[in-house]
């Protein structure tokens, strides 16, 4: 059996960190930023929304430690980050539909590493989105709040954004196909309205407000703005934690069920 000479299995190595490496992260980030639709809807649109709602005369009104403009900026940053994180999460299901996940299973990349990479990409892009709205805010000069409040709001927003990465994964599995974002986009806009990101809840009728308290963007919005407003009802925290747990459980459930061949 001289034919084996070319390949000696004993010399082969397994890559460290389950296949995690910089090339992988770079290409994953680059692909997301290349998607023009994602960039326009997740980065440009919320910044424009901030300019429309967050500046002007009423922007100067006082809210907690800062002003209305700061309040709107945090809301829009959350909306922006949520959109891009959901798009990243939905990518998991898209890649499965394309057979890419199966392709990856023929490489040393460990499934947990793959999910961690996706979470990392969602986190980085979420940070980019949040930073984008904040930079527009700084340049415009309208938002007023102490620097540490500003930083706390941004960090909490980033943490809250991860809820929507999980929602993206879950939704992607429930509604298979390459265009999950076509309904996730409008869906998130609706949730943003109900969660009080675009219009304060106080302006809604009592019935709508009672419904809004149960929707997934209400809790995270209250949490993200808490350093500014110093108001955080207990049910908002329950809402934020509850929806995060639900989406993560949903995503994990669908993924564990996903043993069928693509």
């Amino acid at each position: 059996m001289s034919a084996i000479q070319g390949i000696d299995p004993t010399t082969r190595r397994v890559p460290p960190f389950g296949g995690l490496n910089r090339t992988l992260l770079t290409i994953e980030l680059r692909r997301m930023l290349r998607n023009r639709r994602t960039i326009v809807f997740a980065l440009v649109f919320p910044a424009v929304m901030f300019l429309v709602f967050g500046s002007g005369t009423q922007g100067a009104e006082k809210v907690g430690e800062g002003n209305v403009s700061a309040y709107v900026m945090v809301s829009m940053a959350l909306y922006s980050g949520a959109l891009i994180a959901a798009a990243t999460g939905a990518g998991v299901a898209v890649e499965r539909a394309l057979g890419w996940s199966r392709q990856l299973r023929l490489t040393p990349l460990q499934p947990t590493v793959y999910i961690l990479v996706k979470a990392f990409v969602a986190l980085v892009l979420g940070a980019v989105a949040i930073a984008g709205v904040n930079v527009v805010g700084i340049l415009k000069g309208d938002p007023q709040m102490p620097t540490d409040t500003w930083v706390w709001c941004a960090l909490l927003t980033l943490a809250c954004v991860m809820t929507f990465a999980a929602l993206g994964v879950f939704a992607g599995y429930v509604v298979p196909g390459e265009n999950v974002m076509q309904f996730l986009g409008p869906g998130l806009a609706l949730l943003a309205f109900l969660g009080g990101l675009f219009i304060p809840l106080s302006q809604y009728s009592e019935v709508v407000r009672q419904i809004a308290y149960w929707t997934p963007m209400y809790g995270v919005a209250e949490v993200a703005r808490a350093p500014l407003t110093h108001e955080l009802p207990w049910y908002a925290v329950v809402n934020a934690v509850g929806w995060l747990a639900l989406f993560v459980a949903g995503a994990a459930w669908r993924m564990s069920k996903d043993t069928a061949r693509v």
Binding site: Q5, P15, L24, I27
Partner: protein
């Protein structure tokens, strides 16, 4: 673990159930290093299910699967097994080069990306987005990805579906060249001709079992001659087998099937010396042999 005696693939008593459906009903198979084996069978025979188990994509319900003496997943992690799939498995928003770089980055050791692009004939379109590549270009890209890690075993699931005759020919000559360097190749196909042309060995699979295993000419020998069918009570299989040129005799109740090179002699015997009725003589083509082997379960016809 001595490489000299380790088969590239070893399946022992492998079965796979999906709920109540038995996709694989007991397969024993060894493939030696450097062998080029065709997995031939109709759709739903269990080819893909078996390949999935060899790739570690699914686990057998019972039995053992070893690749180069390791668990399939261990072999995959060392870049020892690769596969080319028929469709999908590519990200449309990556360029050709990015796709290869991405894949290469996941392995401990790979051949240089440029060299692989070159040898797969896609260096010229390296910066093109996968979405803009033709079907043939995408197939070459999949091939490049599979060869990156210099695998000892290459699995191909219906690799030439959708290719034209010319594409098919150049694809197979590339694979053959490759196998000559010590790589084992196992490919699934439902084209008998393809299996016969390109494989050293054909494993015929039907209803989740191996029904024949041999060289192309051995498999084809099953297809020579004619089949004489007759209705005959208490047929004497011994005498029938003893007739000149008879390959196999099969008695099913009152039906007798005699597979023979000299069908005249069989017919003459049946008419002159027995009470046989309804005699039918049918030529047996290659596809026919294939169908009879895979359709009915004439197990162990060749082994």
């Amino acid at each position: 673990m001595t490489t000299q005696h380790t088969p590239a693939v070893r399946l022992a008593g492998v079965t796979k159930d999906f709920g109540a459906v038995q996709a694989v009903r007991g397969i024993d198979l060894e493939i030696q290093p450097g062998e080029m084996v065709a997995f031939l069978g109709p759709n739903g025979a269990g080819k893909t299910t078996t390949i999935d188990m060899i790739l570690g994509l699914s686990r057998p319900s019972t039995g053992e699967v070893e690749v180069l003496g390791m668990q399939p997943r261990q072999a995959v992690c060392r870049g020892l097994v690769a596969a080319v799939m028929q469709t999908g498995g590519l990200l449309k928003d990556l360029s050709v080069r990015e796709t290869v770089e991405y894949t290469a980055s996941l392995f401990a050791d790979t051949k240089p990306v440029d060299a692989v692009l070159e040898s797969a004939g896609i260096a010229g379109i390296a910066d093109r987005l996968v979405a803009k590549c033709s079907g043939g270009e995408q197939q070459r890209l999949r091939f490049a990805m599979a060869l990156l890690s210099d695998p000892a075993l290459l699995l191909l699931d219906e690799p030439t579906t959708g290719m034209d005759v010319e594409g098919r020919r150049s694809f197979w000559s590339a694979i053959r060249e490759d196998a000559a360097q010590g790589r084992s190749v196992l490919f699934a196909t439902h084209y008998l001709e393809e299996a016969d042309h390109y494989a050293d060995r054909i494993v015929l699979i039907s209803n989740g079992r191996i029904v024949a295993d041999g060289t192309g000419s051995e498999i084809k020998a099953l297809a020579t001659g004619r089949v004489v069918r007759a209705t005959l009570r208490e047929a004497d299989a011994g005498i029938l087998s003893g007739l000149g040129g008879v390959d196999t005799v099969e008695v099913r109740g009152e039906q007798v099937y005699v597979h023979a090179k000299d069908s005249d002699a069989v017919a003459r015997y049946l008419l002159n010396d027995t009470d046989a009725r309804d005699i039918e003589i049918v030529a047996r083509g290659l596809e026919d042999a294939f169908l009879s082997l895979t359709g009915r379960e004439t197990e162990g016809a060749l082994r």
